[in-house]
């Protein structure tokens, strides 16, 4: 075990999978120099142009490389450097890779990972700060993974690369420099399995990405008031481990869901609806959602700070359950 950043953990997962399986390759913009966040650092020196494919600024074609190459037996990792740019590649993701297996009557197998970096990160403004995971959770055929820490990041990415389905793998930018203990050897964490990050008895907080860390901060603060939070990180948003969530709510009888994406039609709405469906009789209060306001991300640091959901919003949402 070594303490590693999430960026380093991602790098290690890619490296180890590329080392294990020569069908795995990375294509993306500026991946030769390690990618914009360093997730491919050192990999070009090790694997060369053939397997670290530095592409033109052509997200549609780049994603198409993933779809086509996967259809005939390779295992592509396609990097879209900033999540907002997926919009340029959307047809290949939504109409092609997600549906191909089904439309073709099961003939195709598409082991693709689309990696991307999401969220707010020091005034990157409205076209570089998006958290768009809900878009992909709405599309059957895609799996969606969003780790909150280095350990999960490595294990989930390894599993995503080994999975025979298209996986959208989203790293929250503000998580990427956080560190935790990460085994040096390769390991896979199963997709579709949530993790209870903190065991508690009073309120279930289902949090995603960076908001998992914020939920743990909120839990410390609320513990002083005698409110004991259970924090659940779904880790995989599609398919989602609703069993773990529902079981927790049956125990705590209260729930808050939290993410950085805008609240409206966010994945939190799906989680809240699932809780209402499957644990209605156990609820002592309405399920509260924490998320960003329904506006594009502002540039001004002051407004960005105001916009960004965090620990205090979770604290407020939890307190509101007791009134």
């Amino acid at each position: 075990m070594t303490v590693k950043t999430m960026t380093a953990a991602i790098n290690e997962a890619i490296d180890q999978e590329m080392g294990r399986d020569d069908r795995v390759f990375v294509a993306g913009e500026d991946v030769r120099v390690g990618g914009p966040f360093g997730t491919e650092a050192g990999l070009h020196a090790k694997y060369g142009d053939k397997r670290i494919v530095n592409t033109a600024i052509s997200e549609l074609a780049l994603t198409g490389i993933g779809v086509g190459a996967a259809a005939v037996g390779l295992r592509p990792i396609i990097e879209i450097m900033i999540m907002d740019f997926v919009s340029v590649a959307m047809d290949q993701i939504v109409n092609q890779m997600a549906k191909m297996k089904y439309m073709l009557g099961g003939q195709a197998r598409l082991p693709i990972v689309v990696t991307t970096h999401a969220g707010i990160d020091s005034s990157s403004a409205a076209q570089h700060s998006g958290s768009l995971e809900a878009w992909f959770c709405h599309v059957p055929g895609l799996k969606v993974v969003m780790p909150s820490n280095a350990y999960d990041a490595k294990g989930l990415l390894t599993a995503a690369i080994q999975d025979d389905n298209p996986v959208i793998y989203i790293s929250n930018k503000r998580c990427m420099q956080t560190s935790s203990e990460v085994p040096d050897e390769s390991y896979a964490l199963p997709l579709g399995v949530a993790d209870v990050k903190r065991v508690g008895s009073d309120v279930t907080v289902v949090a995603i990405g960076r908001l998992v860390l914020d939920a743990l901060t909120a839990a410390e603060e609320l513990a002083k008031e005698g409110i004991n939070l259970e924090v659940i990180d779904p880790r995989t948003l599609s398919p989602m481990d609703t069993t773990t969530i529902v079981k927790s709510v049956q125990k705590t009888n209260r729930a808050v869901v939290a993410h950085e994406a805008v609240r409206n039609c966010g994945i939190g709405a799906e989680i809240a609806a699932t809780i209402a469906d499957e644990a209605f009789d156990f609820l002592d209060a309405p399920v509260k959602r924490v998320g960003a306001p329904f506006t594009p991300v502002p540039f001004a640091p002051l407004l960005e700070k105001q916009y960004l959901p965090g620990a205090q919003d979770i604290v407020a949402a939890v307190r509101s359950l007791y009134h």
Binding site: N54, A56, I57, S58, V88, S123, A125, Q127, F294, F299
Partner: protein, 324 residues
């Protein structure tokens, strides 16, 4: 080409304004007084100024992530631009956009853009509107060499050609897209060659020579305005600094390559030309530069003191409140 002394002087001043603006923007970013990514236009000034000096006030431009130069060249006010960088309420976008999204619709500046090549389809729409409204305005789309590898470039070029849209596509080929060399990314050596696929003229021009850029722009703009359709102007230029800021530390570029292009600094070349033509002498040129530098300092001082956006500003402008 005959340019009046006044025009030549204004071109010098405008290029200097852009340079002095961006050199200071770089420092402000390094000092963390300005947040977000700042993409510097230094080295490419002759393109924005050479082209915009050939435009009418009511013509339109679309810009890029590297857009400060385009804004200034089209008449942008540097204090409002600095205010936007400082995220102030008095900035062009009220502090809600920042460097990559600066726009001034009343000046025909449809906006910088954070999405590579997104300005081209938008520019096509603006040019379409000029046809529709039967005004004789021309739209110029500025974009980088990297942008020409996006589908948006090709779709916009094709449709502009079909529609004979009154526009000029101005490619700023600076040899790089982020940290990748253009030649490793792009199937043609000369972006201008891509025009042939869309049955429009493609012209290569020395992007460090403002007179050459200006002359080519005049021709392309006249063609667009007279119903002759769009054209592609490729300006060969160089990014003096890194992709973002002055030195991001990702890519070591060949120092000799930098020196070679620095020797052809468009402002230096133009200054020499104007001295040779007797438009001014070196002392006057220095005084002009110093005066512009001083005006930047005072613009920065005023902009930095301007009020912040109010908390309510977060929620406004998502939708229009008006209706027909």
């Amino acid at each position: 080409m005959d340019l009046t002394n006044a025009t030549m002087l204004r071109m010098f001043e405008q290029m200097t304004r852009i340079r002095e603006f961006d050199e200071r923007a770089a420092l402000l970013m390094e000092q963390a007084r300005v947040h977000g990514s700042v993409h510097l236009y230094c080295g490419e000034e002759a393109i924005a100024v050479g082209v915009c000096e050939a435009l009418n006030q009511d013509d339109y431009i679309t810009s890029t992530h590297r857009g400060h130069g385009h804004l200034i060249a089209k008449g942008g006010d540097v204090e409002r631009m600095y205010a936007e960088l400082f995220a102030k309420a008095t900035g062009y976008n009220g502090g809600k956009g920042g460097s990559m999204h600066m726009a001034a619709l009343d000046l025909g500046i449809i906006g910088a853009n954070g999405i590579v090549a997104a300005g081209l389809p938008i520019g096509l729409g603006v040019a379409f509107a000029s046809q529709y409204q039967e005004n004789d305005r021309v739209t110029v789309c500025f974009f980088g060499d990297g942008a020409t590898n996006e589908g948006a470039f090709h779709e916009a070029m094709n449709m502009a050609s079909i529609l004979k849209a009154p526009m000029v596509f101005v490619c700023e080929n600076n040899g790089y897209g982020e940290w990748s060399k253009t030649e490793s990314q792009t199937s043609v050596t000369d972006i201008a060659d891509r025009a042939a696929s869309y049955s429009m003229p493609g012209t290569i021009v020395d992007g460090m020579d403002i007179a050459a850029v200006h002359e080519a722009a005049i021709e392309a703009i006249a063609r667009a305005r007279s119903g002759g359709g769009p054209s592609l102007l490729e300006c060969k230029t160089y990014r003096f600094y890194d992709h973002v800021g002055r030195d991001f530390g990702v890519l070591q570029r060949d120092p000799q390559e930098i020196a070679r292009w620095r020797a052809r600094d468009p402002i230096k070349l133009w200054r020499e030309e104007l001295i040779a033509q007797g438009v001014f002498d070196g002392k006057t040129a220095d005084e002009i530069t110093a005066a512009i530098a001083a005006s930047m300092e005072s613009a920065i001082a005023r902009a930095e003191q301007a009020p912040d956006p109010t908390p309510e500003a977060l929620y406004t402008d998502v939708y229009s409140e008006t209706q027909v």
